[in-house]
């Protein structure tokens, strides 16, 4: 790690002020992504602003009937919280599919949203990478790209967003509450992460002076019909090759509201409005699920080593929707997929 100095913020206003005063400072919460990247010299902040003691640790019901999750709620606390287990089990399941028990104890809600790609070239400062150094070139396009994107990639970057939790938050239509020099604002989850385009250095739409305060869930939690299925090279403690969050509302044998979000396939949790529309009003079953998968993957493009992701995603979508429709969600400790 490079030398840096360390300050601790006592309240949100102080944290925002400290950040504005030092352009090369970074917030640190759980540290599980930032410290790792600093050890590889990918991140080299001159100052760390410790926000881990800010009072952003509540999980509470909102007046609108949803739930507000403080930015510093640890991933494990959130996954096992009674409100989340009972009303948003899709979110609990996605969190428990990610990282390890130790990491989930350390990782914060806000930090999870801002974790950076696991593209090996992004981590290796000896290789060109547009995300690390804009304009340097992308080593993955002509390199090892088995883990890379099949949707929404650009000529400049084919990296994927690594979070599991964010895939569920995308499916649940969460909102990210932030504050900064220009005051508070709420960012719909779909607008929080961005596609790489010609600015792959920007992962999201949070401004440099802003801090995440909370993630807010709307009332509808799809507790009866949901599933999170994560496919990876090991059975646990590995990032997704493809993951699917499915949430359905079933209404007298027909699908009402439908949500489908994919992880491991794009620079952000991937949703497709047309695919979800194609599910609404249909009888749940292989035919409707296959049609939705085909719509979602219509524009999929693979690179040299990740062609397998396209059929894998299709099958994963059908299987996850089937699990959701039958009310038998994937249990993360059980490794057989039913």
């Amino acid at each position: 790690m490079n030398n840096f100095d360390y300050v601790r913020a006592c309240d949100v206003a102080e944290a925002v002020k400290m950040k504005a005063a030092t352009p090369h400072a970074k917030f640190i919460a759980g540290g599980t992504n930032l410290i790792d990247l600093m050890k590889y010299h990918v991140e080299q902040p001159r100052r760390l602003i410790d926000i881990s003691r800010l009072p952003l640790t509540a999980v509470e019901e909102t007046s609108a009937g949803g739930v507000r999750i403080g930015a510093l709620v640890p991933n494990s606390t959130l996954a096992y919280h009674s409100l989340i287990e009972s009303r948003y089990p899709l979110l609990a399941s996605a969190i428990l599919a990610g990282a390890s028990a130790q990491l989930r104890n350390m990782a914060s809600t806000g930090g999870n949203l801002l974790q950076r790609t696991r593209c090996a070239y992004f981590y290796d400062v000896a290789t060109p990478c547009n995300k690390r150094t804009p304009g340097a070139g992308c080593s993955a396009t002509g390199g090892l790209n088995r883990n890379h994107a099949i949707l929404g990639a650009s000529a400049d970057c084919i990296a994927t967003h690594p979070s599991d939790m964010c895939v569920a938050l995308a499916a649940l239509n969460a909102t990210v509450q932030v504050t900064g020099a220009q005051g508070e604002r709420a960012i719909p989850f779909a607008d929080f992460h961005r596609l790489p385009g010609d600015r792959p250095d920007l992962d999201n739409t949070l401004r440099a002076d802003e801090i995440i305060l909370a993630v807010v869930l709307p009332p509808q939690g799809f507790a009866a019909n949901h599933s999170y299925l994560k496919l990876r090279d090991r059975l646990s403690y590995a990032f997704a090759l493809v993951s699917v969050a499915a949430a359905l509302e079933l209404d007298g044998g027909r699908i009402g509201e439908a949500r489908l979000a994919l992880g491991g396939v794009a620079h952000k949790p991937w949703r497709n409005e047309a695919a979800e529309n194609a599910l609404r009003g249909q009888a749940p079953g292989h035919e409707a699920f296959g049609r939705a998968a085909d719509i979602l993957l219509k524009d999929a493009k693979h690179v040299a080593h990740n062609a397998f992701k396209v059929p894998l995603a299709r099958r994963a979508i059908i299987r996850t929707l089937t699990q959701a429709a039958s009310g038998t969600p994937q249990i993360q400790s059980i490794k057989t997929i039913r």
């Binding site: 790690m1 030398n3 360390y6 410290i35 990918v42 080299q44 150094t133 646990s236 400790s333 490794k335």
Partner: protein
């Protein structure tokens, strides 16, 4: 000129910071650089070498300790951020000459070969038992997946944890 790399300019050496930790029941005050990890503090500053450095990147679990009773990775923890915390390492589990039930269970089940991952496995298992979420072997395996064993002692590790939980033999 990415936001993460433009800050590469060298920095004058920041003054060391004072940090007080309660380690295995004993209060210790040390002066450390801000970039000192809890793992390096334990091993290099306090000679508590029971906690192991495997990957130093959060990928193996060898450095697992309990921070305020919760299992965490000391290699990704900055010591200064834990000022005031209670740290339990493998050295703090036994009561004098009496082994912690997990230590005894690991011996009974032959749950290690080279032993390098063992302190992390045992601290992680102590955290797992305190959390109370694992009931079945499958759940133990899943919730212990953050601890890699290169010797592949996994079946016996699960057996040892089952014994310590009071479930298995």
């Amino acid at each position: 000129m990415s936001p993460s790399r433009e800050s590469a300019a060298p920095l004058t050496k920041p003054a060391p910071l004072s940090v007080t930790l309660r380690i295995n029941g004993e209060s210790r005050t040390l002066s450390v650089a801000p970039w000192t990890t809890l793992l390096d503090l334990l091993r290099n500053h306090l000679d508590l070498t029971g906690t192991k450095k495997g990957c130093d990147h959060g990928q193996c679990g060898a450095c697992t300790v309990l921070i305020d009773g919760r299992r965490a990775l000391s290699c990704l923890t900055l010591a200064v951020m834990k000022d005031g915390a209670e740290i339990t390492t493998i050295e703090g589990l036994a009561k004098g000459d009496e082994l912690h039930p997990l230590q005894q269970a690991f011996i009974d089940h032959d749950a290690f070969q080279c032993g390098y991952c063992t302190p992390g496995q045992i601290c992680s298992a102590a955290g797992l038992i305190a959390e109370g979420k694992a009931k079945t072997r499958e759940e133990i395996r899943e919730l212990m997946s953050g601890n890699i064993c290169r010797c592949g002692a996994y079946p016996n590790i699960v057996g040892a944890i089952e014994q310590a939980m009071g479930g298995g033999r």
